[in-house]
Every structure is written in C-alpha cells, then in structure tokens.
C-alpha cells in the first residue's frame, strides 16, 4: 500500500466510525439541549443495546446464517427494530424514575444520579454477559469480551483495489444518513419537533403555551435511546465484539463529539462525530494507538477551554 492509499483507507475508516459516534452524540446533545443534563448513562445504554442484539441472535438461533444471504438480511432488519425499541424503553424509564424526580433540584443532583445509573448499567452488562447462553460462550468469564456473529460479508466491494471497502462501511452510511435526515425532518417540520425546540429554548414559557413539558422530555429520551440502539446494532455488526465496559470509552468519544460540534446543536453533533472518528483513525495510524484516548481527551479539554460553545454552537449567557 502506498502512503496515499493508507491515508485514504484511514479516512474511510474514520468516517464510518465517526458516523457511529455521531449517532450516540445525538443522544447526548438532544438531552443536554432540553434539560441541560450530561446523561452519563448514555454510553452504557449503547453497551446494553449491543448485549440485547447479541441475546436476540442467540435466542432466535440465527447465529450461523450465511453472511450476505437472505436470512442474514432479515435478521439484520429485525435487529434494527428490536434493539432501538429496547434502548428507547430503557432510556424513557431512566428519565422517568431517576431524573424526573430531580428536575427542580440543584443542577449537580441529576448529574450525580446519571453517574449512578451509568454504574448500574455497567453492572447489568456484567451480569448479562454471565448468562448461560450459547452465544456468550458458556464457560467464559462474564467480564470477557463476547464475539458477535459476522452477519455481513468481508468481500472488498472495490474488487482488487488496495483500498478496502466492505458492506460494513456501506451499511453505516446506508443506515446513518436516512436516520439523520428523518431526525432533522422531525425536529424542524413536525408539531412535536416544534414543541421540542420550544422546550429547549425556555421550559417555563413552553409550559405556559400549553406544551406538556414532561412528555416532550420523555420523547427526547425515547429518540436518544432509539438512536443509541441503532448505533449499537451498527457497531456490533461492524466490530463483532461486545464487552461490558465498552460504553464508557464510546460514550466519552460521543460526548466529546457533541461538545466539539456545539452541545445542543444537532448538525454540530454529526460534524463533531465525523471529526472525532477521523482524529481517532489518524491518531491510530500516525501517532500511536495507546495515545489515541489521550488525544481525544486533549481535544475535548482544549475545545472546552477556548471555545466552550463548540464549532457550530451559539454562545449563550449563563442565566442568573
């Protein structure tokens, strides 16, 4: 491979990873936009989604289907319905029982509660991995990474070219872009979307205008959870590994992306996700894999210090 081909390959990898990060970043940014809460548990919700996908495969017995065949396509389509529903339900419950009672408390109280939810999710993930299911590998330890069956073929779509593009990268693009378009349509063009934007701007005024603020916040959590569910199916199909602590790392990447793009801004979250994906891929290639996390955190800190409103965000004044 020539240098330029290596670069192109890394850029492709970065973009496809970036789209997954963007899907999760949207969940952070929507929740923050509407109730100013950093939902720490979001990354771990994504992890639970991956486990749900793996369990669904194991229970339905669709583990050994031929990659790329009709059966595998149906299985993948089913996963894209089951897992987002699962994640959306959980996210709604978390809001209802852990965050809503604290809505009028000081700002750090729901944040601490979110940290607590995140830890409970990690523990659920650990227990889940220890269930006696064949897909989890009966004897292997609960904490060990689980293999996700390869449902997508590995063939290079570009034939004999040195640059490798498989169905995996294509799936990410095919799934993410329509979903983002649908989300933008929902937020900009529907009545519920309008209510959502109004609540984000000023909850009290929105309530006075007859908007049921609690259900609007509930809808935000449902959408955020569903996006995390989509991201977990895409991630599991792309990386073929599921692991109870993966939520923390992915969550931090996604949060960094949301801040980088300007938290509360949907387009910003997508842009930030793509940038973080690219930075990770390039840093893996040209710096060193073991420093990549530090590079991402370094970027996060620098962005927060010099441009806390992010690339696309508008500067808002702190209310007294």
């Amino acid at each position: 491979m020539t240098d330029i081909e290596v670069l192109i390959q890394q850029l492709l990898t970065g973009l496809s990873n970036g789209m997954i990060i963007a899907l999760i970043a949207l969940g952070y940014t929507m929740v923050f936009g509407i109730i100013e809460l950093i939902n720490f548990a979001h990354g771990d919700l994504f992890m639970l989604g991956c486990f749900a996908a793996l369990t669904a495969l194991g229970v339905s017995g669709m583990v050994d289907v031929e990659p790329g065949g009709i059966a595998s396509i149906i299985t993948i389509a089913a996963l894209f319905i089951i897992v987002p529903t699962f994640c959306a339900t959980i996210n709604w419950c978390v809001d209802r029982y852990a965050y809503r009672p604290l809505r009028n408390s000081p700002k750090l109280a729901p944040l601490v509660s979110a940290l607590g939810v995140s830890f409970i999710f990690i523990n659920i993930g650990l227990f889940w991995g220890g269930l006696p299911l064949e897909v989890f590998g009966y004897g292997s330890a609960a904490a060990a990474p689980k293999n996700f069956p390869a449902l997508l073929p590995f063939d290079n779509l570009l034939g004999d070219s040195a640059i490798f593009v498989t169905w995996r990268e294509l799936l990410v693009v095919l799934v993410t872009i329509p979903i983002l378009a649908a989300l933008l349509y929902f937020v900009k063009c529907t009545a519920t979307g309008k209510a959502l934007r109004a609540t984000a701007q000023n909850p009290t005024a929105a309530r006075l205008m007859g908007i049921h603020v609690d259900s609007v916040i509930g809808i935000t959590f449902i959408i955020g959870g569903a996006l995390a569910g989509v991201a977990s199916v895409v991630y599991a199909l792309t990386y073929n590994t599921v692991f109870f602590q993966m939520g923390f790392r992915v969550g931090v990447d996604a949060f960094t992306a949301a801040v980088l793009g300007g938290i509360g801004n949907l387009a910003g979250a997508c842009l930030g996700g793509l940038l973080i994906g690219l930075v990770r891929a390039l840093s893996d290639q040209y710096i060193a894999t073991q420093w990549t996390n530090s590079v991402v955190f370094g970027i996060l800190i620098v962005v927060l210090i010099f441009r806390p409103s992010g690339l696309l965000g508008s500067r808002t004044r702190e209310k007294v």
Binding site: L102, P106, V112, S118, I120, N123, A142, V252, V259, I305
Partner: protein
C-alpha cells in the same frame, strides 16, 4: 442556667463518636490478634483522607471533580519515585509524604488554572478527561513509571520499628488514624476561616460572592489545590501501606466514583459525614465484599459458575445505587453539614 445544659456539653459530638468507633479495631486487634482487624480497617482511613480531599472541592466549593483518582495516582507515584532505590532521590518516607502532597497541589493548580472558569458540568468532564490522561501516561511512559508493573518495593511509614524494621499493625493503624484526625481537625478550622467561608459563598452563589468582593477564580483554585494535595496524601499513604504503587488501572474512574460516593452518602461539606461515608462505602467495598468472597469461595461457590454468586461483581451496582438513592431520598447525605432547606449541591 439549667445545670443539665452544662452536663450536655460533655456529650460527645458526632465527630468524637466516629473517632471512638474508629478506635474499635485497635481493641479488637489487642484481644483477637488473629483477625488482623487493624490491617483490614486501614483502607477506611486512607479513603477518608481521599474523601476529605474531594469534600473540599465538591462539598465546600461546589465544583464536581471526577478525577480525584488521578491526584491519588500522582501522590502514589511521586512517593514511589522519591523513595525507591532505582531512582537517585531516595529521601525518607516521611519527607516523601510531604513532597507528594506538594506535587498533588501543583498538579491541582496546573489543571485548575485553565479550566476553573468553565461551568460546573463541563468542569466535571474535564476532570474526568484528566483522570483518563493521567492513567494513559502512567501506563505508557514505562521508562519512568514501570508501566503495568508499578513501582515497588516502597518503604513503610515507620515510627517505632520492631526487629523487622516495621511497626506493629496497631501502631501503623494509629499513625494513620492520627493523620486522619489531624486532617479532620484542619478541616474543622478551615471551615470557619476566611478561606472556608469564601468557598461556601462561591458554592452558594458565585455571582453574589463575586459582587461581595470574593475573588472567585482564586478561591476555587485554592480549593482545587488543597483538595488535590489531600488526594495525593491519600495516594501516598495507600501506596506505602501496599508497598507498591500497583498497576495504573487501579486509579480508574471507579475509584473517583467511590470517593464521590463517600462524600455524597456521608453528607457534602460535613467532616463527620466524610468519615461516616468512608466507613459505609469502603467498609462495604473492601471489607464486606472481600470477606463474603472468601467465605463463599471456601464454601465451594465461585464466580465462574454463577455470575451473581460472586460478591465482587456487585461493586458497581452498590456504588451506583448509593448515588441514586441518596440523591432521591437524602440529597444532603446521612450527616448533613448543617440543617439547610435545599440540597447542598
């Protein structure tokens, strides 16, 4: 004046009661030396110091710091580098303890200086990032930190050496207890000093405090530096007790959350609360869980057959539930700093 009221002042305060409880392991050790009570209870004291450090930042000053594990690591590694024979310094354990505190304070200032102007939840994320970066540095700069091996063997803090050059368990427990009492005493006085009042003023209303002439950023920086120094002290105590800095993965996010649980469950901004929080959370984490694991292991259960049967697997669950339940039911913790109307946070 009612004569009874004079008698009442002899009743021990919360803090005194807690120190009486913390003396119990010494008596248990005297009566049943085979239980090793002092060694088992020592983590409570070390983590109480860590809790005091976080309490200064989060309890008094209202800044959420999610990177205390990093400061603890800085203390532990400074202590290691200053005392171990492979490095040229080799100063004694006690001076190294002091230098570790200073190193922690310096790191606190270095992190705080650029970031303290950020709003609360962003600061939380930056400190979380700092914690991860420090862990990565410790893991990857193997020339200095020995990577995953950790630096060892570290010297113990010795006051009355016996024939093997070590303190008896009782003495070494009492030494750390004295350090904890000294820190608690400092905290009590600091609370009522000008700095302490400035911290609470900034916590309650930053804008109002600024208007009244409190230098907001400098006040926050002092809290950050002081808190970091205490966390580093905890790190150095921990490392010298263990005889090794351990592997960098010990100073992970879960450790920072444990410190947060200690402070929040006990009661933010309350000295006695931190000690109660440490007794409950660390007592559960490093005594009850470990003990249960040993008993169950001896009885023939083990975690590989049934994931629920291994008590260690419940750790995250307990930490998380402690945070959520405290926030829902007692946002001021078990021993609130003072009866106030809203949550302290």
């Amino acid at each position: 004046m009612n004569p009874l009221s004079k008698l009442k002042s002899f009743a021990p305060s919360d803090l005194q009661k807690i120190f009486i409880i913390l003396m119990l392991p010494v008596f248990i050790e005297m009566i049943f030396p085979s239980l090793g009570a002092c060694d088992r209870f020592k983590p409570i004291l070390v983590f109480a110091v860590l809790g005091f450090g976080l309490n200064v930042v989060t309890g008094y000053c209202g800044l959420l710091n999610l990177g205390v594990a990093a400061f603890m690591a800085i203390g532990a590694y400074t202590f290691g580098i200053l005392t171990v024979s492979i490095y040229p310094f080799q100063i004694g354990a006690w001076p190294a303890l002091l230098v570790s505190c200073c190193a922690g304070a310096a790191a606190g200032v270095a992190l705080g200086l650029p970031t303290l102007r950020l709003r609360g939840d962003y600061l939380a994320i930056v400190t979380l990032g700092f914690g991860e970066i420090v862990q990565d540095i410790l893991r990857n700069l193997e020339v200095i930190t020995k990577g995953s091996q950790g630096i060892n063997p570290l010297p113990r803090l010795v006051v009355f050496p016996n024939e093997r050059g070590l303190d008896s368990p009782i003495v070494s427990y009492l030494v750390i207890l004295c350090i904890v009492m000294f820190v608690a005493w400092t905290m009590r006085n600091l609370e009522r000093s000008a700095v302490g009042r400035a911290w609470t003023a900034v916590r309650d209303d930053e804008l109002a405090a600024g208007c009244m002439g409190v230098p907001v950023v400098r006040t926050k920086l002092k809290a950050f530096a002081f808190g970091a120094a205490l966390c580093s002290l905890a790190g150095a105590l921990w490392a010298s007790g263990l005889g090794s800095t351990g592997e960098p993965g010990n100073f992970d996010f879960a450790l920072s959350i444990l410190a947060l649980c200690i402070v929040i469950v006990g009661g933010l901004g309350s000295v006695a609360g931190v000690l109660v929080g440490a007794i409950i959370m660390v007592g559960f984490n490093s005594i009850v869980l470990v003990e249960l694991s040993e008993r169950l292991g001896a009885a023939g259960f083990s975690g590989t057959q049934n994931v629920f049967a291994s008590p260690a697997n419940w750790k995250y669950f307990v930490l998380g539930a402690a945070l959520i339940i405290t926030m829902r039911l007692r946002p001021n913790g078990l021993l609130p700093s003072k009866p106030s109307e809203g949550g302290v946070l």
